[in-house]
């Protein structure tokens, strides 16, 4: 079909006008009727990011929230994934923040640094600390920065060691429930010698615990731990090198499954190795331990506190919890849902499914729950050194122990540089 030039010009003009009008109208819609926090038919529209795709408890909580607030809010759920930090920050930067999100309470420095998190303290302290008093003593400390609470916990999270007791019996090895680092490495040496297997399995994303926990434990007293957590001790300190070298030794001696290539192991690969008796010890996370043990099929499992250097058997830890972006469109609605998510009504079902929780008033009939939560009151309350800056958090969380294993000197130098920069920024 041939158009005359006049017709072509008119068509083009119409296309340009329609493009312009649709762009303008979609911008207006975005301002007055955004996907997050807008109203639809009288109900406030909210976007929540509270559950991981494979978290059965989280999915159950989504259903409970949807049902409870069906008359009041029009809720959309987005799944949490390993890029949760970037997802939240992207939504904040775009002016379309999620209304409530999962996050680790000890990691709130990532948001507070850029004034991106809502201060929850006034809401927690309202009505004579009504909401605050529902939490287990000390559990709100991890989400507290400079006296303000930016995240609330629902599940204490800390590392533990699962042990195939049958393999240990085969190797003629015993290990106490709260092993020191030496007891742990001696047991692994005997297992490797007697059974010929790589004794320890730990996925690459969690391998940093081997360093991080000992960076707390190596100090002789609480005041030193506090100094360390505030970034006042240099990474050139011999105690720090001792910690890093202890972990490097495990990899150099091929104690970590499968030996060569241990730094790339996924969670499934490690779990399969535990299931197939290729490892005797498996570093795991407490609130998923019940599922891991059931999936592995290993019947005789001993649960150990994560091994520690020094004399203190405390464990580094955090909590799974929730935060609200500072520019959330309807903070009161977000708070209402958050209160419900941290209520005994919701968290009781987590306990029933074998997961420990951070609130009082829940009942646990299964005695194993006590085992998975046995160190919940034994956590270091001081912040990790990684909290002094987002760059330190990224380095310690994502680059250790690999960087130290391949280049020890440069790694300590990099970390020291980051520590000094963080201290300079804070001044």
């Amino acid at each position: 079909m041939k158009f005359s030039k006049k017709t072509s010009l008119v068509l083009i003009l119409l296309i340009c006008i329609s493009l312009f009008v649709s762009a303008c109208s979609s911008t207006n819609e975005a301002t007055s009727n955004s996907s997050s926090g807008s109203k639809s038919g009288g109900k406030i529209k909210l976007t929540l990011m509270i559950a991981w795709p494979d978290d059965v408890n989280g999915k159950q909580e989504e259903k409970m929230v949807a049902k409870k607030f069906a008359d009041k809010y029009d809720i959309t759920f987005k799944p949490v994934d390993n890029n949760v930090l970037k997802s939240i920050k992207t939504s904040i930067a775009a002016g379309e923040p999620v209304d409530l999100s999962f996050y680790w309470t000890s990691g709130m420095g990532d948001f507070v640094e850029g004034d991106m998190a809502l201060d929850l303290t006034p809401y927690l302290k309202a009505n004579n600390n009504e909401w605050m008093n529902t939490f287990i003593d000390g559990s709100l400390n991890l989400g507290t920065i400079k006296g303000k609470i930016y995240a609330v916990p629902n599940t204490p999270v800390y590392p533990m060691m699962l042990v195939n007791k049958d393999l240990l019996d085969q190797a003629g090895v015993t290990i106490p429930d709260q092993p020191t680092w030496d007891e742990f490495t001696n047991a692994m040496t005997k297992v490797k010698e007697k059974l010929g297997i790589t004794p320890l399995g730990i996925q690459s994303g969690w391998a940093g615990w081997l360093v991080r926990n000992n960076l707390f434990a190596v100090w002789p007293n609480e005041s030193k731990v506090k100094e360390w957590s505030e970034g006042k001790i240099s990474f050139n300190d011999p105690e720090v090198a001792k910690v890093f070298n202890a972990t490097k030794e495990l990899y150099d001696k091929e104690y970590v499954y499968p030996g060569n290539g241990a730094l790339t192991m996924t969670g499934d690969q490690v779990l399969n190795a535990f299931k197939s008796k290729k490892v005797a010890f498996m570093g795991y996370i407490n609130f998923l331990a019940d599922t891991a043990i059931k999936n592995s099929g290993v019947k005789n499992v001993q649960i150990l506190t994560f091994p520690h250097m020094g004399s203190r058997s405390k464990v580094m830890g955090s909590a799974n919890g929730f935060m609200i972006p500072a520019n959330a469109k309807h903070p009161k609605a977000s708070i209402e849902i958050l209160k419900y998510l941290t209520s005994t009504e919701v968290l009781q079902h987590r306990v029933d499914n074998g997961s420990p929780v951070s609130v009082k008033g829940v009942k646990a009939d299964d005695p194993k729950i006590a085992l998975y939560a046995k160190d919940a009151g034994n956590l270091y309350t001081e912040n990790e050194i990684s909290n002094i800056s987002p760059q330190m958090n990224d380095y310690i969380g994502n680059k250790l122990p690999a960087n130290y294993i391949f280049n020890p000197k440069t790694t300590l130098g990099d970390l020291e540089k980051l520590r000094l920069e963080a201290i300079k920024q804070k001044k």
């Binding site: 030039k5 970037k86 241990a262 790339t264 990099d414």
Partner: protein
């Protein structure tokens, strides 16, 4: 100049590339054609302006500033750029990006060329089957390729198991867990994926060469290798140049495959510039610094493309 017939005068005003005949409205057809052309381009121009030029301009402005979504923009001059040259992690990232881009491009171009030359010699049906086989990886998303190869290259994966099976256990490696080796591994996988597209583009160029040239060469006793040397390569050199440019540009954008296979690990030994930019922006809240990294990376890519064009420039033959 006038010509005259009975009762009629036609004025021919002047000669130009497009003969201009004056109309009753006094406007030239040339002007109208230009106006029409511009009008037809306006929708595309608007689209490109809003999706490319404005974001690029904003990024350049942001690279000279400190910006937070909640506190706004503050200009900081060249601070972000001077910070970049002192940031060893980012500078290493530039090195890793260049390494992966150069190696994967070389693999893609050389392999693609080899495949195109081999496929050209096959019969139509056979050639079609093999073209499909070799082109299939290019059709798959980088994420899928990355996931598949992270399994194949894991310590207990297909590659190491194969070496074990054929008695070459000494060749087993932690392909994605050793500094240095991880970059080669990612580059090879990325190059393998791109070879199919290169093959198709070069094959298309080869089939446009007149068959008479090959016949003449055969009559003079030239074998296929000689024909490649004397006929095919010189005649498809402009296409090789264009393909090289496209492959190099694509290989510098290798975010998906690196993220899926290594996430920048082990440690930060494969943390290429796009990964570092994302961390700087969304983990460290330094959007201005991330923009500066992006600007410098763009300049670097432009320089490398310019250099590669110089190398692949050659005579253009008409046939």
């Amino acid at each position: 100049m006038t010509s005259q017939s009975k009762g009629q005068t036609i004025n021919i005003k002047h000669q130009s590339e497009y003969p201009v005949i004056s109309t009753s409205k006094g406007r030239s057809i040339n002007f109208k054609q230009r106006l029409l052309g511009i009008a037809l381009l306006i929708p595309a121009a608007i689209f490109i302006t809003f999706t490319m030029f404005i974001p690029i301009f904003w990024n350049i402005v942001l690279s000279f500033a400190d910006w937070s979504p909640l506190s706004g923009l503050h200009l900081v001059g060249l601070d972000n750029y001077s910070k970049l040259f002192q940031d060893s992690v980012t500078l290493k990232g530039f090195g890793y990006s260049i390494f992966i881009a150069v190696i994967s491009s070389m693999i893609a171009i050389l392999t693609g060329l080899l495949l195109a030359l081999m496929v050209y010699k096959m019969s139509n049906k056979e050639g079609a089957v093999f073209r499909l086989i070799f082109f299939t990886p290019s059709m798959m998303p980088f994420i899928i390729i990355g996931l598949i190869f992270s399994f194949i290259l894991s310590p207990d994966g297909l590659v190491n198991q194969f070496f074990r099976l054929i008695g070459l256990g000494s060749l087993e490696q932690a392909w994605l867990a050793k500094p240095g080796l991880v970059l080669w591994t990612v580059a090879v996988v990325s190059g393998w994926k791109g070879a199919g597209s290169v093959m198709m583009l070069l094959y298309t160029a080869i089939i446009t060469i007149p068959a008479s040239m090959f016949e003449a060469a055969r009559l003079e006793g030239a074998n296929y290798f000689r024909q490649i040397q004397m006929i095919i390569l010189p005649l498809i050199k402009p296409t090789i140049g264009m393909v090289s440019m496209l492959v190099i540009i694509g290989s510098f954008k290798a975010y998906d495959i690196v993220f899926t296979m290594t996430k920048g690990g082990p440690g930060d030994y494969s943390k290429i510039v796009p990964l570092q930019m994302l961390d700087v922006a969304f983990s460290f809240n330094e959007f201005g610094y991330a923009a500066a990294i992006g600007v410098l990376f763009t300049i670097l890519v432009a320089i490398i493309i310019f250099i590669s064009q110089k190398f692949t420039k050659g005579d253009v033959y008409e046939y």
